[in-house]
């Protein structure tokens, strides 16, 4: 039953990506079959505070509904530093 769904994130993960991101993630949160959401950061070179806000918002929503495992995968260099600086390791599992 452990059904993991991968969400691939773009090179620039910023405000312009918010609609795509929230659509994808909201549908995943409502998906009963989905056990964990894996965010693929391997392509991400840049992310701003709105991206961090989206990630925090996703975690908050997840706490209210579903309680799925949230995973950040393949984050590198600056992206990884920013995610760690924002203490997202408290909300996401880093892989």
């Amino acid at each position: 039953m452990s059904h993991a769904i991968k969400v691939r994130l773009p090179n620039r993960f910023d405000f312009n990506y918010h609609q795509t991101f929230s659509q994808e993630c909201n549908s995943l949160l409502n998906d009963q079959a989905c056990q964990s959401v894996e965010l693929d950061f391997s392509q991400v070179q840049y992310l701003d505070s709105s991206a961090l806000g989206m990630l925090v918002l996703l975690a908050k929503k997840n706490k209210g509904q579903g309680n799925k495992t949230l995973i950040i995968q393949g984050a590198q260099n600056t992206a990884k530093e920013i995610l760690e600086m924002a203490n997202l390791n408290k909300l996401y599992e880093f892989r």
């Binding site: 910023d14 405000f15 918010h18 701003d48 505070s49 709105s50 806000g53 925090v56 600056t78 924002a86």
Partner: protein, 384 residues
């Protein structure tokens, strides 16, 4: 005669050695040569007189007055030479005393300055409780680093939370935006109904006209229905225009929120690293300062020790001065004895010399050299 030459032979090297020791080699050599020559003259004179005495074999006077007269200028000459030596010794003593005083003052001042410098270094570095303050400094630095990191974290957290709320708002606005097309569609339905009603009213009016007088009343109703359908079409148009306006404003609002929510956060990482490296530098600097302070302090200690040694060394100037005084008085005495040496005949000379020798012996016993120590290490004198 013999006695005098022997005395000269003894005095000559002694005087020479004394003057050599005092650093006056030329004077010493001169005096030694003078005395040696004097003794040689006396010996020759003695030889000549004995020869003459043998030849003539007459009288108790082995020596004639003209030869004896040579003795007086010689002793005069020696006396004046000794006088010059005496004056030189006194001058040396004065010069040395002056120099020692000057040096002592300078070294005392140096010592005071070094003390002051040491105090200042201690004050600058808050040296009073070095061990304690080192611990304190480290703690303070760590606290500072911790506080800065916490402040930065809090700032980042606030920014991200604000972004999350903004994104929540954006999503809600999006939902509203998504609802708007369905309203527009409903309005379009209303439009259609209105146009159909309009058409219906038109048909009714036509039918009413065909019915003639009977249909007149119906024609009024048909007109009213048509008017109502036109009004509802007008309302629908107004509402749609408003919706258009709202949609535009929602787009603007989303953009605005986006601008607030989307901040570059990479600078936070840069500043965090900057703060950390600044703290590392501060810690390294304070540790280096402490090292330098310790070095400065040990240098200062060595400096003070050297100054004290110098001051202690200068005190031997006093001993030297006493040596010089003693030597000067000895020379003065010898000079006086030489000047008192006026003779008429050999017997007189012999007696006179014995007297003088005795006097000199007594003088030596009376006037002991006040200083017994020969070197700096042996004489351990306390500071002034």
């Amino acid at each position: 005669m013999r006695t005098l030459s022997l005395v000269s032979l003894i005095i000559a090297p002694l005087m020479a050695a004394l003057l050599w020791w005092l650093g006056l080699p030329l004077l010493g050599t001169a005096l030694a040569l003078g005395l040696l020559m004097a003794s040689l003259v006396w010996q020759e004179h003695n030889h000549d007189s004995t020869a003459k005495a043998a030849n003539t074999a007459t009288g108790p006077s082995p020596c004639d007055g003209s030869q004896l007269q040579n003795l007086e200028p010689l002793s005069q000459e020696l006396a004046s030479l000794l006088g010059e030596s005496h004056t030189s010794l006194q001058q040396i003593e004065t010069t040395q005393t002056d120099a020692v005083t000057l040096l002592s003052e300078a070294f005392q001042q140096l010592s005071q300055l070094s003390d002051q410098q040491s105090q200042l270094v201690k004050q600058i570095l808050g040296h009073e409780a070095l061990a304690k303050s080192e611990e304190h400094d480290r703690e303070w630095m760590n606290n500072f680093a911790q506080n800065t990191a916490t402040t930065l974290d809090r700032f980042v957290e606030t920014t991200i939370n604000m972004s999350a709320s903004s994104m929540d708002l954006v999503e809600k606005i999006d939902n509203i935006n998504k609802a708007l097309p369905s309203i527009t569609k409903a309005m379009k339905d209303i439009d259609q109904i209105a146009s159909q009603t309009n058409l219906l009213a038109l048909n009714a009016a036509i039918e009413a006209a065909r019915a003639g007088d009977f249909g007149r009343g119906f024609a009024v109703v048909a007109d009213e229905v048509r008017a109502l359908s036109n009004r509802s079409a007008g309302f629908s148009e107004g509402i749609q225009a408003q919706l258009q306006n709202i949609t535009q404003q929602i787009v603007a609002l989303t953009e605005e929120i986006g601008r607030v929510a989307a901040q570059d956060v990479s600078y936070v990482i840069a500043s965090k690293q900057e703060v950390q490296s600044a703290i590392r530098m501060l810690v390294a600097k304070s540790e280096q300062d402490k090292e330098y302070a310790a070095q400065l302090e040990s240098i200062n200690e060595v400096l003070q020790e050297s100054v004290y040694k110098s001051i202690r060394g200068l005190q031997f100037g006093d001993i030297n001065a006493q040596h010089l005084q003693y030597s000067a008085s000895a020379i003065r005495f010898i000079q006086q004895q030489l000047l008192g040496l006026s003779v008429q005949n050999i017997a007189d000379i012999n007696q006179h010399l014995h007297e003088k020798l005795e006097e000199m012996r007594q003088h030596r016993q009376q006037m002991k050299n006040p200083v017994s120590s020969h070197n700096v290490v042996a004489g351990n004198i306390d500071l002034f």
